[in-house]
């Protein structure tokens, strides 16, 4: 976007010249189409040149006036439209396919025009020799089938109609919550596919021999995840620690043999063997790595769309011209939106007109005290809750009744979910007490506090789970399953009480006309929390993404019905792209980073339990990979280089430090480039202003000369008095100093004289004092 700003401003400088009327895409004379075609001809020419060589940054130096670059360029306005079109088609042909498609899509011509362009393109395409023509047809056929596939995907778009209904009624803000839900669904779907294909399926096909005494299915398993489910493919403990082989016998393989020496059966199929521990380790690692890449990519794309270098001041203009949401189609929502915009405009006007009132020292102190009190309340309540969870989790209820013991496992998740539900209410109260002026600051503070609560709760739970029980991994997996489920149940309850019953209450009892507002930030944070749990749990419960998918699916429909029935759009201005960027960043940084750090620590340094799971009898889970490399080296000494590479790159932290260092250096360079572009933008803006002032100055000067020529007796009564040549010279000198000119202005003055002498009747003399004083 710095490049966009630079490009826009340099185009503006080019357009400041009257002869560049041709490059204006909107000239609505009869030659509008011709103007567009010639403009795009120039652009494709520039693109072709740019693809061959890099643009020169020296074009933006202070001494050169960029607008003069356009001066003297070929301005063949006498060219017929047809030949321009041919030249444009020629340029298009010489671009690469992606450039051509992008150019075509960006052209403000009608579809008929564009197909005529393509028609000309194909006529010359038939002149290719026959072998390349075959290749050409194959490529066309492949592309055609790819577009048909995309069309098919588009037609079965998930929830297209539902999203349209929501956006039609509530606008883009509430829609962003549902789009975020859809994004999370796709992440989980990807995780489910990967773990399902590489871990669950092989193990399900080759079930291990299970210990005796499996409990039967009772309904409680769905809530607690223990009992019948604890010895199924759902949890870590079920997975075998040997290489699965397709055997001829019925008993399905031999247990407790060391790793990949594997089973020595009589008839062993050499082809189908599957090293389960290695597969487990690598699947989790690769899934996390790919998720990381996708997250970082979408975060950077979202950041790029919402970050603006030039944080300037055209707020009012933006509010007037960019704030109408074209997606809203319901009549009441449209009325509400126009009321919102009016209110915001009035507030902005009041802000702009009023001088900012400085607080006295006493008021500042008071505000500081209030803020301090609010933060103390928040941090204090968070600490109290964390301690409560710590002591509660330490105590265990042991009872003779097995069912009650199982049900008591639900106690901790219920307590945690209750805390997650109630404490944000307390934070809202504290924020209401503090009374922030700016709504975005208020939102960020609320997000900070919620984040602090959730991070501390999750941190404590992680510490509490590690290494307590025998076969602790399955236990952790079960706990995470319970937490996820309780989170879902409490979200349902919150939707019921917070939205449905509150709406009834406020309508019937409080007699308010307006429905409650859908709190987007809080709901998105809940989604992020649930996703963190899912990511934490994948290592221990490979089927947890499936549970999360079901949960998100149900949540979509429940939230949608609740929103349509009970809520209305937020009244405060909601900056969608900024908030979406914040949420994706929160998903990436505390949520995914925390989960992957936990998983990495578990894999790298914690001893797996010795009685269950695919990594028993290993010191760390990471050893699975290492042993495999050693086995490879033993079997095939040529691969020793791989083993050595493995030990240097993966085990040695030096490589990681160097990588991180290089990464930081690259980031630093990029930030310096952004700074430089910012400086260029301000320079260009200054030059535009100066050119505008030049133009005004020359207009008034020429006007005055013309008037003097016409009626030498009549004195000029305008505020611009330029009679004395000494003052004129001084003016020229001062202008020269500010712009540091050489020959260009003289020629431009000559040009202006010729041009404006034919247009004096149309020119107004600027009479506002600001302009006059600037000229003076």
């Amino acid at each position: 976007h710095c490049c966009l700003g630079v490009k826009t401003l340099s185009m503006k400088l080019n357009a400041a010249h009257p002869i560049s009327e041709q490059s204006d895409p909107l000239s609505l004379s009869g030659r509008s189409r011709g103007a567009i075609i010639s403009q795009y001809y120039n652009r494709t020419m520039q693109l072709r040149r740019r693809r061959q060589s890099r643009p020169a940054i020296r074009d933006f130096s202070r001494s050169a006036r960029p607008s003069i670059r356009g001066y003297g360029m070929e301005v063949d306005s006498t060219d017929a439209e047809v030949s321009k079109r041919d030249r444009l088609v020629n340029n298009l042909q010489n671009l690469s396919v992606s450039d051509r498609v992008r150019m075509l899509r960006g052209m403000p011509l009608s579809v008929a025009e564009k197909t005529l362009q393509k028609e000309k393109h194909t006529l010359s395409g038939s002149q290719i020799p026959c072998c390349s023509q075959l290749k050409y047809y194959i490529i066309i056929g492949a592309r055609h089938s790819w577009y048909s596939w995309l069309n098919f995907l588009h037609s079965l778009q998930l929830w297209q109609v539902a999203l349209k209904t929501v956006s039609g009624r509530f606008g883009t803000g509430v829609l962003s919550y549902f789009l975020f839900l859809k994004t999370l669904l796709f992440f989980n779907f990807f995780l489910f596919l990967v773990t399902g294909a590489f871990m669950v399926l092989p193990q399900a096909v080759h079930p291990p021999v299970l210990p005796a005494g499996r409990s039967s299915f009772s309904g409680l398993e769905l809530l607690t995840g223990a009992g019948y489910f604890s010895d199924t493919v759902m949890y870590y403990g079920y997975y075998s620690n040997y290489t699965l082989r397709k055997s001829c016998r019925d008993d399905g393989g031999v247990q407790n043999v060391s790793l990949s020496n594997g089973t020595r059966l009589d008839c062993v199929s050499k082809h189908l063997s599957y090293n389960m521990p290695l597969a487990y380790f690598f699947t989790i690692g690769v899934a996390f790595f790919i998720t990381c890449i996708i997250l970082v990519y979408s975060m950077s794309k979202s950041f790029g769309q919402s970050f603006r270098i030039d944080k300037s001041h055209s707020i009012l203009a933006m509010k007037v011209l960019c704030s109408w949401d074209f997606k809203v189609i319901k009549k009441t929502s449209v009325k509400l939106m126009s009321e919102n915009i009016s209110t915001q405009l009035k507030e902005l006007l009041a802000e702009v007109n009023q001088k900012h009132v400085k607080n006295t020292a006493c008021q500042k102190l008071w505000r500081l005290m209030v803020h301090g009190l609010a933060w103390t309340i928040c941090i204090g309540s968070t600490t109290a809750c964390v301690l409560a969870i710590y002591y509660f989790s330490g105590s265990r209820i042991a009872d003779n009744n097995l069912l009650l013991t199982e049900a008591s496992l639900l106690a901790l998740p219920v307590v945690v979910s209750l805390i997650n539900l109630l404490l944000p209410g307390l934070f809202n109260l504290a924020a209401w007490m503090e009374d922030y002026e700016s709504p975005s600051v208020r939102t960020y503070v609320a997000i900070c506090r919620n984040l602090m609560l959730k991070v501390s709760v999750l941190g404590l739970l992680c510490y509490h789970w590690l290494g307590r029980v025998a076969c602790w991994e399955s236990f952790v997996g079960q706990e995470l399953y319970r937490f996820l489920l309780m989170d879902f149940i409490f979200t349902l309850l919150d939707t019921l009480f917070g939205e449905f019953l509150w709406r009834l209450f406020s309508e019937k009892v409080l007699k308010r006309r307006r429905k409650p507002v859908f709190d987007i930030a809080r709901n998105v944070l809940e989604l992020i929390y649930g996703q963190t749990l899912a990511w934490l749990g994948v290592l221990f419960t490979p089927l947890l993404p499936a549970v999360q998918i079901i949960k998100l699916f149900l949540l979509f429909y429940i939230k949608k019905s609740s929103v349509m029935m009970n809520c209305q759009a937020p009244r405060k201005p909601y900056r969608v792209s900024q908030m979406t960027t914040v949420f994706i960043t929160l998903l990436c940084f505390p949520s995914f980073l925390g989960a992957s750090v936990c998983v990495t620590i578990t894999m790298w340094s914690i001893t797996p339990s010795s009685s269950c799971g695919p990594f028993r009898e290993l010191k760390t889970m990471f050893q699975a990979g290492k042993r495999w490399v050693e086995e490879l080296e033993k079997d095939n000494p040529n691969l020793s280089v791989l083993a050595r590479a493995h030990s240097y790159l993966v085990e040695n932290p030096f490589f990681l430090f160097v990588g991180a260092g290089i990464f930081l250096i690259v980031i630093y360079f990029h930030s310096q480039v952004v700074d430089g572009q910012r400086k260029i933008i301000s320079l260009l803006q200054e030059q535009i202003e100066n050119e505008g002032e030049d133009k005004k100055f020359l207009i008034t000067r020429l006007q005055s000369i013309h008037e003097k020529k016409r009626t030498p007796a009549r004195r000029l009564t305008s505020q611009v008095s330029l009679c004395c040549s000494g003052a004129l010279q001084q003016l020229f000198l001062s202008k020269a100093k500010t712009i540091s000119i050489t020959w260009p202005p003289l020629s431009s003055y000559v040009f202006f004289f010729i041009y404006f002498s034919f247009r004096t009747s149309a020119v107004e003399i600027p009479t506002s004092s600001r302009q006059a004083s600037s000229v003076l």
């Binding site: 056929g141 074209f326 505008g692």
Partner: protein, 185 residues
């Protein structure tokens, strides 16, 4: 929709040079036909010159409540009075769709807000825009003040009206523009 109409139709042309100029997308054609079933034929192979009048187009649910509906339809019409042929209809929805490029949206937004079609957004254009936006909630003095301040903020070269470059510069600073200037069909 965007991809299909601008590239796929031209790709289909590459395969069969004798097929008609346009391959209409099924959804858009059915929506277009719904507006005036007696006017619009089912078969477009002869490329008939049918234009649906403005009054029928702005009755579409996607446009019915939009305060700028007349200007949108006029901008995309060939004759400037709002009578859309099917080509124009497709143009309109592909320019307003989600994946339409930023430059295209900026150009058409400028055309829509330029009520008097002089390639500049002057104070009068802004005043009309504001009145349509707020539907009389602001007093005339407030409207004048808002227009003056907006021009002051966004006008770079001081000619007290917004040219396309001023508009484009301002839009590049508004990150919500792309998601707001989008009509779902």
């Amino acid at each position: 929709v965007c991809r299909e109409t601008t590239v796929e139709s031209s790709m289909k042309r590459d395969n069969k040079p004798n097929c008609p100029v346009l391959v209409p997308s099924v959804i858009l054609h059915s929506r277009y036909r719904e507006l005036a079933p007696h006017l619009v034929p089912l078969d477009y192979t002869n490329n008939p010159d049918i234009r649906v009048p403005l009054a029928l187009i702005v009755a579409m649910p996607e446009l019915k409540e939009n305060p700028f509906r007349d200007r949108i339809v006029e901008t995309f019409s060939e004759d400037g009075h709002g009578n859309l042929s099917f080509n124009d209809f497709v143009d309109m929805f592909s320019a307003l769709c989600e994946t339409s490029p930023r430059e295209l949206k900026t150009i058409y937004a400028f055309k829509i807000y330029d009520f008097n079609r002089d390639s500049f957004i002057c104070k009068e254009d802004l005043r009309k825009t504001l009145n349509k936006l707020t539907k009389g909630d602001l007093t005339p003095e407030e409207v004048t003040l808002v227009c003056d301040k907006s021009i002051e903020e966004a006008d770079l070269d001081g000619d007290s009206k917004l040219s396309f470059s001023d508009f484009e510069n301002m839009i590049s600073k508004a990150p919500d523009f792309l998601s707001n200037f989008h009509v779902r069909i």
